[in-house]
Symmetry: C2
Subunit: 270 residues, 2 copies
């Protein structure tokens, strides 16, 4: 039986999952979090299913060693490839970012035509289409991999003509399908939301799975009597597999709360 | 004592080192090669020295298990961070890509002002400046990290207005330093040579360390009586830690010789 005052374990390939952690902090500010970013092996988005499952399993073991009460896979690629495996291999509740985003997209669309942008891995998996059709069987879902968005975001070009040019190219095909809803299916993408808004126009609804996932996490904790009653003094802990200092400074720019330090671990040992 | 008919081991974080393998194949076409690309953990360029040394040591063990006669670190970042360690930890000759490129830059410059472009890791290490000044103590060396070039090359935008725009931004500072020689200090960059040529103008000499390294490898084999006398039937073997099929198709577009198949291994076991 998990301790209800234990932290939620949140993991991502690197910094992108901080947009999910940010939404969790906004929705349930009393909940402690242990965050792990696999910065030694990022990105996950361009790698194979086998490899992502292997990496995610090691992260699961690390988070279990931190005695978390639940796990949030704050990475679309890892959610696409490894959610089932992790759910099978642990007794803890495991939530990915795809189901909530898919559910919201199915609810928001009026014409039933939904676009999904993400990494090569997420798009190749076809998981958003499959999940959206669980909620809305007649939905037409169009995916587009956008491999340059993550490096552009990490280079800081959030509001830049080059990012807008690349966004125009990536979304041209989706606009040609007359979608009315677009899922930002990678945790980095909310950081270029204003560029995507400009390129897609005002009539397309942008869905942010990070926001929807935070609401799902809140509901899951309540349903399982896992909401924290006594918030520990050290509310947020950050771990990475490489580049701890760079991570800390990026986390400070994303998160509303103070980020003190990030610890480096060797994830291959888990 | 190494077998002179054994293959040369060449490794990189992924596909970039194929530009080095290509030059080796051109210079010494009878030499067998075992190539390893660490595609499960790429890129190396944005990661820390400790992590790159740990990854490179595992690759060394893998290449030793393949009974190679010499090792070429066909990755600037791994050459910058791990060459010394690997040379200490094996009896095989180990050659990196930096020394040859630095030597050529020191020879080519007329005004003593040399630019170096590379990954964040290579530039942060300062190794090109240190090495160039071993050959030409009064050289002034200006480094510039170009993190978007690798993803742009991997997205296939070798001849594209976006790549040219990014190249103009990255090189503006170097042009302001009046360099007359520019080292392409990352194995991906020769693939956008024509863009770099256009942005830098005809008066700046572009140095390709891959070419210089292949000449150094040839000389090293001759000096150590390690040139191959009986070329084996399976002349080139390719191994990766992920995405074997994608690697094969990229390798076919880069290499002059037939690339049959790529084998996937778990590098974390070495």
């Amino acid at each position: 039986m998990a301790d209800r005052n234990a932290p939620i374990g949140v993991f991502d390939s690197g910094i992108g999952g901080l947009t999910v952690a940010r939404e969790i902090i906004r929705q349930i500010p009393d909940e402690p979090i242990v965050y792990f970013g696999d910065t030694a092996r990022l990105p996950y988005g361009s790698k194979s299913k086998d490899t992502i499952i292997r990496f995610s399993r090691q992260v699961l073991h690390f988070l279990e060693s931190q005695r978390v009460k639940a796990i949030v896979i704050a990475c679309n690629t890892a959610s696409a490839y490894a959610l089932d495996t992790l759910q099978r291999e642990t007794d803890l509740p495991v939530i990915g970012v795809i189901r909530s985003g898919a559910h919201m997209a199915a609810q928001m669309t009026r014409n039933g035509r939904i676009g999904v942008i993400g990494t090569a891995g997420t798009i190749k998996s076809g998981i958003y289409g499959d999940t959206i059709r669980q909620f809305k069987p007649d939905a037409e879902v169009f995916g587009k991999a956008c491999p340059l968005f993550v490096p552009l975001v990490e280079e800081g070009l959030w509001h830049d003509s080059v990012t807008e040019e690349i966004a125009s190219r990536y979304t041209a095909e989706l606009k040609g399908k007359f979608i009315d809803t677009l899922v930002m299916g990678c945790t980095h993408y909310p950081l270029i939301r204003s560029t995507l808004r400009r390129v897609m126009g005002e009539n397309v609804t942008l869905v942010n799975p990070a926001y929807e996932t935070a609401i799902e996490v809140k509901g899951m904790l309540e349903a399982n009597d896992l909401t924290c009653l006594v918030t520990p003094e050290e509310k947020y802990q950050f771990f990475v597999s490489d580049q701890a200092e760079e991570f800390t400074s990026f986390a400070k720019s994303i998160l509303p709360e103070e980020v003190r330090e990030t610890k480096k671990i060797n994830i291959e040992e888990y």
